[in-house]
Amino acid sequence: MAASVLRLGIPGRRWALAWIDGGSRHRSGTQPGPTSNRARGQSSVAQLSLRTAQKPRKGEHKWAAVVGLEIHAQICSNSKLFSGAQVCFAAPPNSLVSFFDASLPGTLPVLNRRCVEAAVMTGLALNCHINRKSLFDRKHYFYADLPAGYQITQQRLPIATNGHLTYNIYIRKKQSQVTTKTVRIKQIQLEQDSGKSLHDDLRSQTLIDLNRAGVGLLEVVLEPDLCCGEEAAVAVRELQLILQALGTSQANMAEGQLRVDANISVHHPGEPLGVRTEVKNLNSLRFLAKAIDYEIQRQITELEDGGEVLNETRSFDYKLGCTVPMRDKEGKQDYRFMPEPNLPPLVLYDATSLPSDADSQQVINIDQLRDMLPELPSATRERLVQQYGMLPEHSFTLLNEVGLLEFFQNVIKETRAEPKKVTNWVLNTFLYYLKQQNLAVSESPVTPGALAELLDLLDSKAISSAAAKQVFEELWKGQGKTAAQIMSEQQLELMQDREALEQLCQATIDGHPQTVMDVKKRNPKAINKLIGLVRKASLSRADPALIKEILEKKLSL
């Protein structure tokens, strides 16, 4: 796939469908965007700033950027890839280290079945060919947090190859438009994570934590089919959702379960690819997009100023918002790859090749895993659109915010209200409150059940929409009251007493002769003003439709 021309042909800005408040995009601008400095990397696509979308100066060549990614996803498993040590984030240093992880002499790797299954499931979900036989290799380099002096990986023959990942870019011109794009997946390989080095510059010492050493990783290598930071971020976000749906990785970037390296080059379309740089260790989607876009612009500027791009490894300084060369003391590395002699080839079976006498604990059946694949995000979105009649962008929002889909589905389950109403309340009101307080769905003071009850009240016309918002505000305070309790305590229920409402209407007519005159002069806004006055007098508890009916009758319209 040729790299697309960098922005220049596209008028207006393009937006990722991964916007967390994508659903609110069509409403009047009452809702704030997501707060900045969000801790949760999951939603940070929303922070993309697209600095590369600049207009070319006259006479300039068009530049195209070519971006490829290497993504490391920590496998969600109880134990490590080759040892029985537990996998757990933020455990006390060096508390989860087996003899093998510490590379004690004489210890041998024993492959974790769960990690292989995770790799196969991920490969299947990403439309890969699953290799019936794959191999393990040693990659050598000296580093303090790599106790064996080599990493066991799959260099020659990885477990999965030749897949593709589909993602969606949302282009906003006058109307919304979704563009579906595909990035090819070169391969997925199983490999060991390293430990962590903590440099104490003050005492000039390095502390090593081997808890992470040997944790299973899936390295997903994308072909250079991407053309900008935003595309990269959206593609990674989609991968993240797939991994989470599969349960093969928690893929939390803030916790280092998903780490991205980007290979970036620029060239003139039709000409050979430019020299590439690698930007390493990008640990949030926002920084990923920023780093790539910065690096593209830096390379263009460098070349246009007559300079050259060096084949080097760079890191992203998130404080300065720019990439800087990494000081690589050893110079060019030769990893001296060698077959791992302690692990026989990894052989996988399918329904036809499975030996009849095979011990099911000792073999992995690809077809069986395929049957067990859960619904993937793209299918979920499609189902949401069809089942609940929501807009595609609403389905994106529901999936992008962690836990929101589950919340939505629980509300749907428990309420009689229309799905469209539920969508509206969840994406507008509920999400708005969350964003305002920078909370995750799991931290919400309002449970799906509480919202469902409120929507039931609304559905049965026991409460007006405006009053429902008031009830919601009370619910949000989390004082343990139900929607019905709040409604009756604060007398927010709709006035069911027609006589009393008629009296309120009469009093309003009597108190506002001028408005009444306007109504009679057929001023269309005047009747609404009267309705508003009656509602106000009813403390928002009256049904506007009923007020209108009574007013019209009394004024003989």
Binding site: F99, A102, S103, L104, P105, G106, T107, L108, P109, V110, L111, R138, H140, F142, A144, P147, A148, G149, Y150, T206, I208, K329, D334, R336, F337, M338, P341, N342, L343, P344, Q362
Partner: protein, 524 residues
């Protein structure tokens, strides 16, 4: 008592003729007396006595764990032993006390065996003489035997003419040969068990690759290493192998299929066998004595009605070179973990992590180890990988195919020499460097490791100098039982003499019930 075989002493234990503690103390005393052999790096006296005590209790309660209960054994110092220093005869691991037992060690202990100590070797098992470890060379017990004293030239009658034990498992071989234990574990990567077994007049067995767990064996070459067994007779080897063999969940290269190994029948019929004599193993450097014994051995099979045919293993001549490339490459990789951070020696130089690594490895490894690391890394460099490593692997495949072809043609067992000559004096041995020596000494043994086959060196007769000579039998992969059966028949025919250690026998601690001093059919 100490001169008996494992099975004999096991019977004595069962019959109460001797208690495990008595046996243990006798062996410990012999270890002290033979300290000059330098067979042991660590003598685990306290551990052994405690194990003996427990064994004794079991015997008293009639709850013996089996043939190995109460039997003193020794283990090469490159097997991990929980709580007991494991050095690989290297400065790098001096003081390293592993927190776990190698599977083979654990299996021996689970059977009630008494661990007498850890035996000497070439540093990280790199060598063929057991001369290149930091604890000094191992001396061959036969240097001090009556047989050798009578056989050697008059001008050599001083102590400086002691002989090497062979290697790299020379300590284990010397330990068994000097009666300080009844069986010992060695390791065999290119011949490191069979070579010292031949030089020390013992049965030295290299099992099929994948039959016995390597977990806890500090690796030399993972794809060739196997734990080896030293005993005084083939039956003893079969007993120990029966205990060690089988799948180990901690070693993914062990075979999953259940292994059935039983005692070898006492009456063996070899008349239906086909014995192959590989013509490529007849090299000019082979001593005439060994050549003659080899041919007598094949006649022995012929006379029993076995078919003996000359066979060809055409790629044999490339084997040692390829072995060198593959061995050093894996060594370079395996040694990468010794950086002084987690365990073992750490240099005091701390200007930078890199400087610390370099100094640690310079101080920790000897020249042989460093030399192999250097050449291994050279072979693994991107620009060299195809030309050396990949090519060597291809040739390795051809060498394996040579063996497979021969076995497919109907040959049951191959018969070859184990070594070119009998053991040479240390002063002679060190005239050549380690690499040259290894290349010479592994010539008949390393191809077997390249192919993963089982092989056993069986002592045949004494040379004119009164030194042991061994011949090697090579079997089909996982036909270890058949191989040992043939070896047992052969052993019975040749009646190899027991070593006469004069100074040890003087105090009567060594009663040699089986002291058959001359071989029946193969006397030189």
């Amino acid at each position: 008592m100490l001169g008996r075989t494992l099975l004999e002493v096991s019977a004595a234990l069962k019959q109460g003729q001797v208690t495990p503690t008595e046996l243990c103390k006798k062996c410990l005393s012999l270890i002290t007396k033979t300290k000059y052999l330098n067979a042991y790096i660590t003598v685990s006296e306290e551990v052994a006595l405690k194990q003996a005590e427990e064994s004794e209790r079991r015997y008293k309660q009639g709850q013996s764990l089996g043939d190995l209960d109460g039997i003193p054994v020794a283990v090469k110092d490159n097997f991990s032993t929980a709580g007991i220093e494991t050095t690989c005869a290297s400065n790098m691991l001096k003081g390293y006390i592993p927190p776990y037992n190698a599977t083979v060690v654990q299996k021996l202990l689970d059977q009630g065996a008494l661990l007498m100590g850890k035996t000497n070797l070439d540093e990280f098992a790199m060598g063929s003489g057991s001369t290149d470890g930091v604890f000094g060379p191992v001396k061959n017990p036969w240097s001090y035997s009556k047989q050798h004293r009578e056989g050697r030239r008059h001008d050599e009658h001083d102590d400086s003419h002691w002989l090497i034990a062979g290697g790299s498992s020379g300590g284990s071989a010397a330990a068994v040969a000097a009666f300080t234990c009844f069986a010992a574990l060695g390791s065999d990567t290119g011949g490191s068990t069979r070579n010292p077994a031949a030089h020390c007049g013992l049965v030295g067995f290299k099992p099929s690759y994948g039959l016995v767990s390597r977990h806890g064996l500090i690796p030399l070459v993972n794809s060739m290493d196997v734990p080896g067994i030293f005993t005084r007779c083939v039956d003893d080897t079969a007993i120990v192998l029966g205990i060690l063999a089988g799948h180990d969940p901690k070693d993914s290269t062990t075979v999953q299929d259940p292994i059935k190994l039983s005692r070898i029948p006492s009456e063996v019929d070899v008349s239906r066998l086909c014995i192959g004599i590989p013509k490529e193993y007849l090299v000019p450097e082979l001593s005439s004595e060994i050549r003659s014994l080899w041919s007598q051995a094949s006649d022995l099979f012929k006379s029993e009605g076995a078919k003996v045919i000359e066979v060809s293993l055409p790629h044999t001549c490339y084997s040692i070179v390829c072995y060198h490339v593959l061995c050093t490459s894996e060594v370079a990789s395996n040694m990468a973990r010794f950086d002084g951070l987690q365990y073992g020696h750490r240099s005091g130089i701390d200007v930078s992590t890199e400087a610390m690594y370099a100094a640690t490895r310079q101080e920790g490894f000897n020249d042989v180890v460093r030399g192999r690391i250097l050449s291994g890394n050279f072979f693994l460099l991107k620009e060299n990988y195809e030309n050396y490593f990949v090519k060597a692997q291809k040739v390795r495949r051809l060498i394996l195919r040579d063996f497979v072809n021969v076995f497919d043609s109907g040959v049951d067992v191959l018969l070859t020499p184990t070594t070119l000559t009998e053991a040479v004096p240390y002063l002679e041995f060190i005239k050549e460097d380690n690499r040259t020596r290894s290349a010479q000494d592994d010539i008949f043994t390393q191809a077997v490791n390249m192919a993963g086959l089982p092989a056993v060196s069986v002592p045949v007769a004494l040379s004119n100098q009164g030194l042991p000579i061994g011949l090697q039998f090579i079997g089909r992969a996982f036909c270890d039982q058949q191989l040992l059966t043939v070896a047992k028949w052969f052993e019975k025919q040749v009646q190899f003499p027991v070593i006469q250690l004069q100074d040890l026998m003087d105090d009567g601690s060594l009663v040699l019930e089986n002291g058959k001093l001359t071989s029946v059919s193969l006397t030189q």
